[in-house]
Amino acid sequence: MMLTQHLVSLPILLPLLAGCLLLLPPLANNLPRHRAFSLAVTLVMVAVCAWLLQVTHTQGMQLYFLGDWQPPFGIIFVGDRISALLVLLTSLLLLGCMLYATGGEDTTGLHFYPLMMFQAAGINGAFLTGDLFNLFVFFEVLLIASYSLLIHGGGKQRTQSGMHYVILNLVGSSLFLFALGILYGTLGTLNIADMAMKTHELSEDQLALTKAGGLLLLLVFALKAALLPLHFWLPRTYASASPPVAALFAIMTKVGIYSIYRVHTLVFGPQAGDLASLAQPWLWPFALLTLAAGMIGVLASPSLRLLAANLVLISVGTLLVAAALESPEAMAAGLYYLLHSTLISAALFLLAGVIGDQRGKPGDRLVVGRPLLQPRLLGTAFFIAAMAVIGLPPFSGFLGKVLLLQAAETTAEMGWMWPTLLLGSLASLIALSRAGTTLFWRVSGNNNQGEAAGLLQLSGIALLLFCSPLMVVFGGPITELTLLAAEDLFNTQKTLESILGSGGN
């Protein structure tokens, strides 16, 4: 009973506490203990998040009032189906990355595991919070961990891309605070549910200001999500980070996308009176353009990691198109696609790491190089990942794209969306088959250097890859769950009642 009451806070507290414990004796500076402890904690996190999902699915929204301050005054954590699903996704992803990192990536610098833990705490917090300022705080937590993780291991390239990433995100944080200031000034609250209530009571002159605040917020989230004019930081950053870090970063863009889903359907959504659908006219063209930019990037990528980074861009475009359609069906398809694309792009980053290690000097660049040590194993893994990410049957990408196309079937935007999405798949198909041919078949000489990938490293990749066929096998229950989650998101009335109603009594 006690534990279920605090269940919503556990996905944040567990990694936070684990991260602190890792810095203290007897765990400090002891790599084997670090590895064992982090893996154990991550396994517990996966279990807890699965439990949270089960509880939110069967018993409805779970609320957690910090310090027992009732909304709209205190900070609340909101665990509904979407956030529980995403928190579970984060834990799974973290497990995969950590398994991979035990293969030696964690020895390149200090404090790898604590940083991963803090990053996970920030991401989970951003998914669970019900307060906009708290969202900012968790953004900063995940960002400062990501800054250190990005340059973890050192090297010129990482410093160079780290500089851009850090400066851009600092400016983004300032803009976030400006937006919060404007919104607090007009709405008088930062509790997301309470803000949604207050949007109906605005006077004429406050309306324009609130609009500006809402759009500024969209700008900040778009920067995190890497929407078109703000996406230039992404490919270089992701390509220069070490493989497990890049894999964990696969969920960072999704934090921005989730924030857009959440804030711009609840506060500035279809039911927000004069502020209704504030983001939609902006999201629609820019999401399609992001898709197009990703397409060009994929075709022009000179290395596997840049290719994977540009595939992330394509998935960002796809997911924001789903948000721009503004219907529960599209949102449900988007959520399914979000789960799939996060896991598979992470798997691709990890694969690129292994392939780069085994090829020696050319690394993961798409040029003729030495043959791989484990060509069959890695080839199969690459093939599965490529099929899934392109969206070919029988993998999850296919199902996700079909759901998305179906959701857009009746809308007027179909004429724009279908060709762009399908052309994106075609571009990925061309680029990935070219990359695979070069990496696995265009080889010269013998390979007697480098090491074969260890069992734990491979199990990290396998864990992420196996999710794709599993998402197809259990496609029925998962799509049902995402549809329910999307309906929750659009049923603002019910959300508001359950959050604010509980505070009234």
Binding site: I151, K156, T159, L170, S173, S174, L177, F178, G181, Y184
Partner: protein
């Protein structure tokens, strides 16, 4: 008071934006600092500007909104940590890459282009 306050916030923001758009890392860091000053003042004003208002009930005739003050406090702490980080990163980048340009390489000077 409002006009002066707004002018100060605007001036700080303008300077911050100008400096963050510079090419070398030091002006950029200073620009980010100015931006965070501006945003802290701005956040403070979102609870309305008021003279002689304490944030504690009963301590004065009229009271001020305590929430923006708490927000500013949080924002200051976070901004301070972030500035420290970006400073260290800028120094590291100066050491690693051999120059203080944010791109890690100096733009070609007009002499080279001739």
């Amino acid at each position: 008071m409002e006009a002066l306050y707004a002018f100060c916030v605007g001036l700080l923001t303008a300077c911050g934006v100008f400096l963050t758009l510079r090419g070398r890392s030091f002006p950029v860091v200073v620009g980010i600092t100015l931006l965070s000053y501006a945003v802290n003042l701005f956040l403070f004003s979102s609870g309305r500007l008021k003279m002689d208002g304490a944030a504690v009930l009963g301590a004065s005739e009229s009271y001020a909104d305590p929430l923006p003050q708490a927000l500013v406090l949080t924002a200051i702490v976070i901004g301070f940590a972030m500035t420290a980080f970006v400073l260290i990163l800028a120094m590291r980048s100066r050491a690693d890459l051999g120059n203080d340009h944010v791109d890690g390489r100096l733009p070609p000077s007009p002499k080279d282009q001739k």
